[in-house]
């Protein structure tokens, strides 16, 4: 079960014609799919479209009612290949995954799909993970669209425009026999807005129809000579059809303004930011009236030469607002206008930065610079209050070293943390090892306090990233892999590869029951019962199936001692072949979400429930914080030292502690200090509990009174 439940929100998917939908972007996209008569949907989770997958999963009943099939794909390549259903049949299909990494994985299938082309509308919804909060390399999807000739939509970031783009995307795909990518930026995915709904549409042609009367067209398969034909067809037929459709249906938008000798060409996704920039320059209002004419590219590939020529004609200069690099659009516009012999000056990456996110401040500065250069009369740029600027600068300077970066880290009670604690302890004995990381929460190991890990080459590629280290050496390389990455492709790319190449490396598969980093979706090995998916498939069986002989499954990662001993054994055993440790404990975030309500209910119901949490005695803690350096748990923090003789803060466990036990295990395994205690709080104690407690209290109380009588007052 995913981290966030959309069970309530999905009810909005049933809204009929004329109702107002209010909610998040991804939910609006789902509604638009249903209004478009989609037959099947598939995808792989990852920010910012994880919630789209969660919405679809939670909406499965609604989808089924409409005859829409939904799949949680094994990976993005699987998702893209799913669109093969639209090659021969008039079936509308949509798949979704995150840029750019998802597109990378999907590229084989996408190229094949784009080459042969489609009959039914094929839509690829790309969650653009670029800029602030992004967890991946900063690259563009744009060149993928260009190289495979897939049309690329980048609608204005408001719900009506996004919903419209979904619908027009299907139509464009069908009119041009070409798959279409819909690029939605991270904030647009999560934007709360509204739009007017229409009725959902049942697909008129169904998957069942296709399966019962199969069709094939060999000229749609990528094999010579058809593949040569496809390339010609792309240029001679599909491209002109796309240009015509885009022009006829006015997918791109023109906004007039009175400063007719300048203009701005912008990606649809940059519209709101650009308009705010104009507003701050006194050149637009909040309702979208702009003095500078705008040409909004809701379709960023292909560009429409005629529209660009029309817009640029008679203008002294245009500014291109294009986020990301290289500046494909700017280059293309230069070519287009040069070919049309139009001398309008083209500004773009000269005034705006080549790299980096186009934030509000960046675009404001670029737009102002553009207008100041070409229409200085139009801009009344009141110089910012000097006094204010000085005050801000001084304030920022004063706290220069007082604001630390706060990157994400392992959650309270995370079962992955003890694995790295154990590795740190093993490295104290055996020295440092080369560690290859993967994608997932476990990648937080590279940050303090663990500082473990040298590279990450991609999802499921932890083992693959260590494959060259297959030489005779006294130390083995260690590779990490999550259960998400394992099932995504790690079984073959990392484990199978290590078996085949007779590697001696150690592979730690972190099996916490979910793809936790993307929001806790189920995978094949999840322990949860999922009514629409097959779970409980064992990772150990899978790795043994591909030929691994040395496998250890640890079912309680919090046992640091056992974890450490197993790692030591894996690193030192004489046995040949890859050593695989399946480190199994449920993601604490998900476990708490499941168990906490049950516990509260049980306590209310009068059942005996024991809750555990940890604590630190401030009078024995000497403020060295070794324990934090070996754990980093958010519940393990520091507090002022109550001891007047000491100045260093003591360690403190705050009430968010879930009692995972790691603190105690670390204190034991690392021989730290005796300050940690475990408090077991017995709710609704039984009569036996009461009897025991009374007996103990009598004896202990007696002795404690004696102690108190001898003990001198520590603080007056």
């Amino acid at each position: 079960m995913a981290e966030r439940s959309f069970e309530q929100e999905v009810e909005k998917l049933k809204l009929g014609a004329g109702a107002e939908f209010r909610g998040e972007g991804i939910l609006a996209i789902t509604k638009a799919l249903l209004e478009s008569g989609v037959s099947y949907v598939a995808g792989y989770q990852g920010a910012p479209i994880s919630h789209l997958m969660d919405v679809l999963a939670d909406a499965n009943d609604i989808l089924a009612e409409l005859g829409v099939h939904f799949e949680n794909s094994a990976n993005e390549a699987t998702a893209a290949a799913t669109l093969a259903a639209s090659v021969n049949y008039p079936l509308r299909g949509a798949v979704t995954f995150k840029s750019i990494v998802g597109v990378n994985v999907a590229s084989d299938a996408l190229s094949n799909l784009a080459s042969g082309g489609v009959t039914g509308g094929a839509l690829i919804i790309i969650g653009e993970d670029y800029g602030e909060g992004s967890s991946i390399m900063q690259e563009r999807v744009h060149p993928f669209a260009m190289k495979s000739q897939i049309w690329l939509l980048d609608p204005r970031p408001n719900l009506p425009s996004i919903v419209n783009a979904v619908k027009q995307g299907f139509a464009l795909s069908e009119a041009t026999n070409t798959p279409v990518m819909l690029e939605v930026r991270i904030r647009a995915c999560h934007v709360h807005g509204r739009f007017e709904t229409k009725d959902n549409v049942r697909p008129s042609y169904t998957l069942r129809d296709a399966m019962e009367s199969p069709r094939r067209q060999t000229d749609r398969i990528v094999l010579p000579p058809a593949s040569y034909l496809h390339e010609k067809e792309k240029i001679e037929t599909r491209w002109p059809a796309a240009v015509k459709f885009i022009e006829d249906h006015k997918l791109n938008e023109f906004f007039d303004g009175d400063l007719t000798d300048i203009g701005i060409v912008l990606q649809g996704g940059m519209y709101n930011t650009t308009l705010r920039a104009l507003e701050l320059a006194g050149l637009a209002d909040s309702l979208g009236h702009s003095r500078v004419p705008l040409y909004v590219l809701n379709v960023t590939y292909p560009l429409i030469d005629r529209e660009l020529v029309r817009f640029a004609q008679g203008k002294r200069a245009i500014l291109i607002v294009e986020e990301g690099q290289p500046e494909f659009i700017e280059q293309a516009v230069n070519t287009i206008l040069r070919r049309a012999d139009i001398q309008t000056q083209i500004e773009g990456k000269g005034l705006l930065p080549m790299a980096g996110e186009y934030t509000g401040g960046v675009v404001r500065d670029g737009v102002k610079a553009f207008v100041r250069a070409w229409r200085p009369d139009a801009i009344s740029d009141a110089p910012p209050s000097n006094e204010g600027a000085v005050r801000i600068a001084a304030a920022a300077k004063a706290i220069e070293h007082n604001v630390h970066p706060r990157p994400p880290s392992f959650c309270t009670g995370c079962p992955e943390r003890p694995i790295f604690t154990a590795l740190k302890l093993v490295e104290r004995e055996l020295g440092a090892h080369h560690v290859s990381c993967d994608i997932g929460c476990h990648l937080f190991s590279i940050l303090p306090p663990f500082n473990i890990g040298a590279t990450t080459m991609g999802y499921g590629l932890g083992g693959a990233g260590a494959s060259a280290f297959n030489a005779k050496a006294d130390r083995r390389a260690i590779a990490f892999l999550g259960d998400g990455g394992f099932w995504h492709n790690g079984l073959t790319s990392s484990i199978g590869n290590a078996v085949f190449n007779k590697s001696d490396n150690v592979h730690v598969i972190v099996d916490n029951g979910y793809t936790s980093a993307t929001g806790g979706q189920d995978v094949l090995s999840s322990k949860a019962d999922n009514k629409i998916r097959s779970t409980h498939n064992s990772i150990e069986k899978a790795v043994r199936g591909v030929g691994v002989e040395w496998v250890r499954t640890i079912t309680h990662t919090y046992d640091v001692g056992q974890m450490r001993d197993t790692l030591r054994e894996a690193l030192t055993t004489k046995e040949k072949g890859p050593k695989v440790i399946v480190a199994q404990s449920e993601c604490m975030l998900n476990k708490q979400r499941r168990e906490r309500p049950l516990m509260v209910k049980a306590i209310k119901g009068g059942e005996r429930v024991v809750r555990e949490r940890f604590g630190v005695d401030p009078d024995t803690c000497t403020g060295d914080h070794s324990c934090i350096r070996l754990s980093g748990c958010p519940s393990l923090t520091v507090a002022p030292n109550p001891d007047p003789l000491r100045t260093e803060p003591v360690t403190k466990v705050i009430n968010s502690c879930v009692g995972c036990g790691l603190c105690g295990e670390v204190a034991h395994a690392a021989v730290l200090c005796p300050s940690f205690y475990r408090a077991s709080i017995i709710n609704n104690p039984s009569r036996w509990d009461h009897l025991k407690a009374r007996l103990r209290n009598a004896v202990i109380g007696f002795l404690q009174r004696r102690i108190a009588a001898r003990q001198f007052a520590a603080a007056a």
Binding site: H192, P640, D689, I700
Partner: protein, 522 residues
């Protein structure tokens, strides 16, 4: 300049800086509901991603009055991210996050109302420091006060705690109390009630936040910041036990001895007397005072005696197994745990300790000759090593566990004959002699030598590492006492010793200090 636009309303811009999992989303949803229920259009965006995993994150909202819309074809175009200099309200759920808002240019003196909780959630850097890595909270508050147009700042985490709710409800109350949104208080409460979950607690926290904000004069540009006494972390202010059985007081005439010391040192000396008396005996406290007396004579401005009094008290009350056992079974300690883990009367509390006494600690507790025999006899040591390989969980709340620790604690009279006492005492006496010797000629350096004793702390490996660092510093004294900046150099070495737990920084600092100095001859 021609302005063809009639004066139109601008959106209200709100940035919420929070940490993943803190409920920033709940607050944002309340504001959306509040606006939409009161004739405003609301747009909210966030960047969930992995920042949800305890990282810093921003929620951004824009609110636009429906009354401002002139025709159906022109809906307001709202930004998806804050533009520096264009934010009306910044809400920070924690003090360092407020500082982050300043660094990002979101708080400006011409327009921004800052609503911030000044509680601290310490960063990883602050938490993993080997000594005190906490940043200066006062500086952050001062910067906020200077950057914002108006500031409402108080410890909202403490209020949330007291009302049994979450910080987002207190923040919501503070927004209402600050009067920066065009909605009445009832409208805010309506949004909470429509939200559904934990309404009563949320409303209580909201009310407390509202009242705390309006109690100060909200029209004042920078209302006074209410700081919880005595530390910045309000949650810790009442940590001392309240209901533990009474102790035996340290005799007044002994405590009065502290009055003979310079005023600056008196509080520390008094604490030292109490600590040593509690640790061993009244005679031990007198030994403490006797040892301090010569240092007091060498003191010139109070710094030397204060630091020595502190370190001597800590050094004389090192944490051995007896001390730990004693502290663990005290009635005041049981009471403190009850309070810290919030046990109520219907519940039963059990306490378990995580202890790992090794051969070294066992030998340390025994009389010196016996302890040395164990440590230096191979088979004996091997036997005990095997028996103590694993840590023990001792249930102090059970009779067995309690009695075990009670027996260990009752070894106290034997302590002065123990191996550990012998070693610690020798080390301490030597250090004290060094302090006095250096003080005669290099007062500042002596103060630093006194302070350097602080490196020796902790248990097991930590203690051994501290001792090694301390010895390395002391070994530098002959060289340092030749230098005019010897005290500063020793302070730098102490800092280096605390920079990492491998000793690499200290080694590098010492190596650098040993390099021949290229000073112009004067």
């Amino acid at each position: 300049m021609n302005a063809p636009f009639p004066q139109r309303p601008r959106p209200i811009t709100i940035a919420i800086l929070a940490m993943g999992g803190e409920g920033g989303g709940v607050l944002a949803d309340w504001i959306v509901d509040l606006a939409e229920s009161n004739r405003y259009i609301a747009q909210l965006t966030s960047v969930p991603g992995v920042a949800q995993r305890t990282g810093a994150t921003i929620y951004y909202l824009e609110l636009y009055p429906r009354a401002g819309i002139t025709d159906a074809a022109h809906e307001p175009v709202l930004a998806l991210m804050p533009t520096p200099g264009d934010v009306d309200i910044v809400i920070a759920s924690e003090l360092m996050e407020a500082g982050r808002a300043i660094q990002r240019g979101l708080i400006t003196p011409d327009r921004t109302t800052l609503i911030a909780s000044i509680n601290r959630v310490f960063s990883m850097t602050e938490r993993i420091a080997m000594a005190d890595g906490r940043v200066d909270a006062e500086k952050l508050i001062e910067a906020c006060r200077s950057a914002a147009k108006t500031m409402h700042a108080f410890d909202m985490a403490a209020i949330a705690e007291a009302t049994g709710s979450v910080i987002s409800a207190v923040l919501f109350g503070a927004i209402a109390g600050a009067g920066v949104l065009p909605f009445p208080r009832q409208a805010f409460e309506g949004a909470i009630k429509r939200g559904g979950k934990g309404i009563a607690a949320s409303v209580a926290a909201f009310t407390a936040g509202f009242e705390a904000t309006t109690a100060g004069d909200a029209t004042v540009k920078t209302p006074a910041v209410t700081l919880p006494p005595p530390t910045l972390d309000g949650q810790d202010s009442d940590e001392t036990p309240t209901r533990a059985p009474p102790h035996k007081p340290v005799p007044a005439e002994l405590l009065e001895e502290a009055e003979k010391f310079p005023p600056a040192a008196r509080a520390i000396v008094r604490a030292g007397i109490e600590r040593t008396a509690d640790y061993q005996s009244l005679a031990y406290a007198r030994l403490y005072l006797d040892r301090l007396a010569p240092v007091a004579k060498a003191d010139s401005d109070g710094r030397l005696i204060t630091e020595t009094a502190r370190q001597l008290a800590l050094g004389m009350t090192y944490e051995d197994t007896i001390r730990v056992a004693e502290l663990k079974i005290r009635p005041s300690r049981f009471q403190r745990v009850r309070e810290e883990v919030r046990v109520n009367d219907g519940q039963i509390l059990e306490i378990a300790e995580f202890m790992h006494p090794r051969t070294q600690e066992i030998a340390d507790t025994l009389p010196a000759p016996l302890g040395r025999f164990i440590l230096h006899t191979g088979w004996m040591r091997g036997l005990i090593d095997r028996l103590t390989r694993k840590g023990r969980v001792v249930k102090t709340s059970s009779l067995r566990g309690f009695l075990l620790l009670y027996i260990v604690a009752s070894l106290k009279p034997l302590r002065p004959r123990s191996l550990r006492y012998e070693v610690e005492n020798a080390h301490l006496v030597e250090w004290l002699a060094t302090v006095q010797r250096i003080a005669a000629t290099h007062y500042d350096l002596a103060v630093e030598v006194a302070a350097a004793r602080n490196l020796v702390k902790g248990y097991g490996d930590t203690h051994e590492r501290g001792r090694r660092c301390f010895d390395a510093l002391i070994a530098m004294l002959p060289a340092l006492s030749q230098r005019p900046d010897g005290a500063a150099q020793l302070a730098a070495l102490r800092k280096a010793a605390n920079a990492d737990d491998t000793g690499a920084a200290l080694e590098a600092a010492i190596a650098k200090m040993k390099e021949p100095q290229l000073e112009p001859s004067s």
